[in-house]
Amino acid sequence: MSATDTSVFSSNFYESRKTVHNKRIDGPFRRFKWAVMALTLTIYYVTPWLRWDRGPYAPNQAVLIDLAHRRFYMFSIEIWPQEFYFVAGLLIMAGIGLFLVTSAVGRAWCGYACPQTVWTDLFQHVDRFIDGDRNARIRLDAAPWGLSKTLRRAFKWSIYLVIGFWTGGAWIMYFADAPTLVHDFWRGEAAPVAYITAAVLTLTTVIFGGFMREQICIYMCPWPRIQTAMLDEKSLIVTYKDWRGEKRGSLKKAEKEPDKYGDCIDCMQCVAVCPTGIDIREGPQIGCITCALCIDACDKVMAEIGRPRGLIDYATLDDCRAEAAGQPPRPVWKALLHPRTIAYLLIWSSIGAGMLFALGHRVRTTLTAAPDRNPPFMLMSDGSIRNAYTLRLRNMESRPRQMEIALEDLPGAKMWNDTISRQQAATKLTFTVPADQLLAVRAYVVAPANTRAKEFEFRITSLDEQHESGEAEAKFSVPEAEAGDH
């Protein structure tokens, strides 16, 4: 086995990662990125701590995914498992929302709001804070492992761990009452799944945000591939205007021969600030998350050398072509609205409107009736016929409610249940259904001897100001020989 041979092979198939040491930059897009980062991180960390008063029978956490009790709370909305289509609807809206954003402003999700981007950005700031800016980090990377480097790395990685733990710790707060869980967590009394989830998310946060970073976007994430298919000539992308920049040359060369060189002075600042380490001048590529930091960097250089801004800029490919052909540049906002964007907007908002409508018309009281099948009917000593049913009264409100069950379409029939005797049988029974629960009641329905097999209904009515109503269809069975004598 020869080492040189194998290395020839492996170098053909695998390119090892070139660590990205992106340089600090300031500018409008960087400030926007700061704002989005502050907003998204605040939403993520603060949401579980928001309180929302739902009365004594339901948790007071504003957003809570209560897996143990199978309830999903989101401010004034409470969702039961069978209403999960609302969550599915939200996910569909999120999906189409991404399409909408992509068709309007390109890969803005990747550039500003994706958790991978936000946390990578956060970790890169930690790098900058501990190890200094780009050049200092490159030097430190190349330096041999000594005491100083070891200590620095240990310090930095422990900050990574703290951030990771904070992230994983915040995640589990969405699944239980946050103050209680924090208390239990530190006393070692929380559920094992809480510790496992927090540990797994701590690790994934540190590994994905601290170490893998842009490789997640470039190699692992399906979304850039989908977006690549969705972008067209009318989509906003971050572009290097090559007709203006080429041929590249240093400031000195360009001063000597102004006609030969374009605006790009090949200062490499756009590459230095890029968080994914690409060269935007090579054209649109999967590694470009359109965070626009290169625009900030290039604009700054252009201002310093007295050339107009926007050598690298947000533009559509169509606009670039028109501009290259000598037409005046079109304002960016005009690129936002085109037929596809409007179509997505309509689909997205109609799903939203449909869900709002459905939310407003939800019935929080339902009833099902399951007949006893063995035996299906029962002849009583007075000749009347009894059927038994298991009624399930569902109260989806967070307070106990009085509910009335009435027999409909079954002449002469009365019902009773295990808590009252047959002498008290009536056509209507009232139950108190506990808050947020399902009450199962075995009800006996007795009908006169001459009753035929027929369909009838149990009607449920909530005896409160909501006055909700619903019905459950049921069948009354009688002995086959009922028509004859016996």
Binding site: M1, S2, D5, T6, V8, F9, D372, R373, N374, P375, M378, L379, M380, S381, D382, G383, R386, A388, D418, S421, R422, Q423, Y444, A449, D485, H486
Partner: protein, 303 residues
């Protein structure tokens, strides 16, 4: 034939065969795979020593740990029993008349009773406890009770059985056979009168007279029956052995009288309590206090 050589680009040996210029590399198995394989072999050896493994002429090797599937089952069963201990202890203490006061214990008894019913009672009474008219097994869901339908009476019937020799508290009654006593015309008149008691035939004076002479002492003036003597009601809609005139005549001439085992000798008292609670819960159970006052009246209330 074998023409092994080292493949230059990979540094791996070939298997030595060549087909139309195509050779195959003899790439060794990965180390981790081999080690996993060896570990599996070690595990299997240990397993065969610790657990029953090798078939012998009589049985098999028992294994050092002494594990058996029967032992495992016995252990699981005792764990399940342990889980029920507190419930069974409570149930053993509580008099059955007071069981209804403890709704949680009642609920558990009904669940336990349902399971015991499936095992011990469903063979005759059916899995839904609906009985069988053809075979003469009574329906336990309805409100017609020959021996009493309160929870205490049901427990007594379960414990001592029906018409069991050697149990002095067993439910006992006997209908005398009237075979050859009545003339055919008299039989028709009698059965017509019996049917008229529940409004299924016109009044029959001849039959009424015969009834008064022969039947009234046990079944009562209006056929209301009597639980103290185990005489069934004849004025309701429920007939254990059939409710046609022919059925009634057959029962008069050659009466069928069912038996039920005395479960007191077969099941423990707690299980019998659970069975009584279950049967009582099927929809026809009578209230204990009221039934104690006047059992005959209780059945009339529902009319």
């Amino acid at each position: 034939m074998a023409n092994k050589r080292i493949d230059q680009p990979t540094g791996t040996e070939t298997v030595g065969h060549e087909w139309d210029g195509i050779e195959e590399l003899d790439t060794p198995l990965p180390r981790w795979w081999l080690w996993t394989f060896y570990l599996c072999i070690l595990f299997a050896l240990g397993y065969a020593i610790a657990y029953p493994a090798w078939p012998m002429l009589n049985g098999g090797t028992p294994g050092l740990l002494g594990w058996t599937s029967r032992g495992q089952l016995a252990k699981d069963m005792s764990v399940a029993d342990q889980a029920h201990t507190s419930m069974r202890e409570q149930l053993a203490m509580i008099p059955i008349e007071r069981l209804a006061d403890n709704s949680e214990l009642m609920k558990q008894s009904i669940i336990g009773g349902r399971a015991a019913f499936r095992v011990n009672c469903s063979q005759c009474h059916g899995s839904g406890a609906a009985g069988s008219q053809t075979l003469g097994y009574p329906n336990l869901n309805d409100d017609d009770w020959l021996w009493g339908g309160d929870i205490k009476a049901i427990e007594t019937t379960l414990f001592h059985g029906i018409r069991q020799h050697g149990d002095d508290q067993t439910r006992q009654s006997a209908m005398p056979p009237f075979d050859g006593v009545f003339k055919p015309g008299q039989l028709d008149a009698l059965s017509a009168h019996v049917l008229s008691l529940s409004g299924k035939a016109k009044a029959n004076p001849e039959g009424a007279a015969l009834f008064e002479q022969n039947c009234m002492s046990c079944h009562g003036m209006n056929g209301e029956g009597g639980r103290n003597v185990g005489a069934p009601r004849l004025n309701d809609a429920i007939w254990l052995y059939g409710g046609t005139a022919a059925d009634i005549q057959r029962q008069v001439q050659n009466p069928r009288m069912g038996e039920m085992p005395a479960w007191g000798g077969k099941l423990d008292p707690v299980t019998i309590k659970m069975l009584a609670a279950y049967v009582h819960s099927l929809g026809g159970g009578e209230n204990f206090v009221e039934a104690a006052k006047d059992p005959a009246k209780q059945t009339n209330v529902s009319h």
